[in-house]
Amino acid sequence: MKVPLHGAIDCDLHPAMPSVPALLPYLDEFWADQLANRHIDRLPFTLSSYPPSSPLSARPDWRTRSGAPAADLDAIRRNALDRFAVHCAICNPLHGAVALFNDDMAAALCSGVNDWMASELLDQEPRLRASILVPGQSPELAVREIERVAPDRRFVQVLLLAMGETLLGRRAHWPIYAAAEKHELTIGIHAGSTYRAAPTYSGWPSYRVEDYVAQSAAFESQLLSLVAEGVFQKFPKLRVVLIESGFTWLPTWLWRTNKTWRGVRAEVPWIDRSPAEIVREHVRFTLQPVDAPRAEPQMLLRTLQHMGSDRLLLFSTDYPHWQFDADDVLPDGLPEDTIAKILIDNPRDTYPRLRDPVMGQAQGTGEKEVQ
């Protein structure tokens, strides 16, 4: 169904990433030289998880004539911000810098992307917010970047990928969570892989669609890693958003993890309440993709009941990825109060920085659609 309200908060929007030459003005002399001399500036830095021509990467009517995804500022306004009458949208930069093995080069490019984001998008369009791109495999450099960018409160989140070098609950990553908690930034984990390990537990699938399907299992593993390692006990104010994760797998996760935890809780004694309670307090999920049968909306409604809370879902278009057609960004059959929560209340509750006074007048209950 269409968005029935003004003032929604789109928690997953993907602007096209700049070319390396467009980043050069934001890089220091050393890296500008390196990237040019080594012809690194000719690389597109496209993540393998999102090949530009794949149907998943851009909806056909959101492509330009050349076939490239149209996600420049004009297109973002036309196809996403205006079309869905959003109050604001969070830009999640999917940039290949995070798949580099050279931590310093990755960090330099991440910094360039963040500065580019601030001046080319956030300065130009007041409805936009962004996630901070960090080299997640180097917590030290990631924290340095968070500290550098955090004073700009239009950055509301730190972005990590669902498939990376090690599971995100491991203690090596904790400085990232400490910095995020300190600065009121959520941790956003987005679908995608740096392909440090095979996407499945028995190796490398043949087809891209298998890699994409496997993303939900990757999120399940990451969620359990964060819970089992005690991240939410160590960082009680931390919020984690699973982005483009799908969410219909969550009930099984809650049921299975609660049960197993009852049997093996002595192994993880810091877990002080059931995993389901921890997740419902600390973890949120963006709406798209809705992995449920469109023809049978009652299955999705039952699944939402299985999730046990209407505070878990955050509106997202996933623009320009092809997750829905026309204006049908919301699944059919959602109760009205659930829609308002998904569109507005839950995102505001999740992102402390979206509650800043500077954010303006988003109404908790939304205004009726007048279009």
């Binding site: 995100l168 496997a214 299992a217 359990l224 009930p251 049921w255 049997g263 049968p293 046990g308």
Partner: protein, 365 residues
């Protein structure tokens, strides 16, 4: 769990088929009669050769009694090694009419030396026959084959094909490549030819790939969960790589991976197949249809919602004819048939889950 469980004979009227019972040998010498001198010597000198760092041990130590029910230890040997105790404690006490043996360890599935793996598989199949099925008519065996050695696997399947003691073909889903890959197709062709289902029981480490797409987890609670994500990976592979399309009579049984995830995974596969279908033109139908028609799931370790009725939704969506009860005896997370289903089930539904679905699949009288 390590609490006293009843040992008196079952009082329930419904006899059950248990689709997951784990027999083990008391000592490796039990296999010697079924191995040549060359391989007996190899086993004694070099032992098995697996892809993990604590050979013959548990890199994720279990929380109690090495993962076994405390009450399942016989006077000598490990749990699952004593047929009399298994009869007394499980087959009789729980009213098991038919029990499916899932001979996991040292069956050659995990062995890196492929010739040794072949010898081990053959030995473990003879051992299942001589030491278990011939002594206890309620038990049935699975043909254990090492999936990385397809030529041998096919020969072993053909050698056992006519023996009704073997009701299914078992390979490890922790393979070197995803099970949908072509290198494993001869195994599926052989299973299809002999009309026996393909049994896939969760496994720990054999293929050498990390159990998550971001490397190895830290704790056993995670390793235990990886059985569920792993089975999702395996099912996705069998669907998208075209195994279920190419072998239309092949039936697949997924054992101990849970089942509540099946509807959500099917929805996800359908949704993204629809977008990406040009990549896999060999699929002629939505993924969910292959799953619905060709894949069976065992119930243990059953997922436990806060509201038990929620699991009934899942069973409804998955299909009442595709779930088969299992206990995982003698492992710690054993499901007791008296307590396993917390939601309201009709007698007809119970009969299907506990008995009739398995009887229909395996052609049991």
């Amino acid at each position: 769990m390590n609490i006293a469980v009843r040992q008196a004979p079952a009082t329930q009227r419904l006899k059950i088929v248990d689709c997951d019972i784990h027999p083990v040998y008391r000592t490796p010498a039990e296999l010697h009669p079924f191995m040549s001198a060359r391989w007996r010597e190899h086993m004694a000198t070099f032992g098995t050769h697996f892809r993990h760092g604590l050979h013959g041990q548990l890199p994720y130590p279990r929380m109690m009694a090495a993962g076994m029910r405390l009450d399942s230890f016989p006077e000598n040997g490990p749990p699952g090694s004593d047929l009399d105790l298994m009869r007394r404690q499980h087959l009789d006490a729980n009213g098991v009419e038919v029990g499916m043996l899932i001979a996991l360890s040292r069956g050659g599935m995990e062995e890196r030396n492929l010739d040794f793996g072949a010898a081990l598989s053959s030995a473990i199949n003879d051992w299942q026959l001589e030491c278990w099925v011939k002594k206890e008519p309620r038990l049935r065996a699975a043909i254990v084959v090492p999936q990385e050695n397809a030529d041998y696997a096919v020969a072993e399947i053909e050698r056992r094909a006519g023996d009704p003691a073997f009701v299914q073909v078992m390979i490890s889903p922790r393979s070197s490549d995803p099970l949908g890959h072509r290198r494993y197709w001869p195994i599926y062709a052989a299973a299809e030819r002999c009309g026996k289902p393909l049994a896939l029981h969760v496994a720990g480490y054999s293929g050498g790939h990390a159990s998550t797409s971001s490397g190895w987890p830290t704790y056993y609670i995670q390793e235990h969960y990886a059985m569920s994500t792993g089975m999702q990976n395996t099912l996705t592979s069998l669907v998208f790589e075209g195994v279920l399309e190419r072998f239309p009579k092949l039936k697949v049984v997924m054992i101990e991976g849970g089942f509540a995830w099946v509807p959500a995974l099917s929805w996800r596969m359908d949704k993204h197949w629809e977008r990406m279908r040009a990549e896999t033109p060999h699929l002629r139908r939505p993924p969910s249809e292959y799953v619905r028609e060709r894949v069976w799931f065992t119930t243990q370790p059953i997922e436990e919602p806060e509201n038990p009725e929620h699991l009934s939704d899942i069973m409804e969506w998955l299909g009442w004819d595709r779930l088969m009860f299992s206990t995982d005896y003698p492992h710690w997370d054993f499901d007791d048939p008296r307590q396993v289903f917390q939601g309201r089930l009709t007698d007809a539904q119970k009969t299907r889950l506990f008995r009739d679905n398995a009887k229909a699949l395996y052609g049991l009288q």
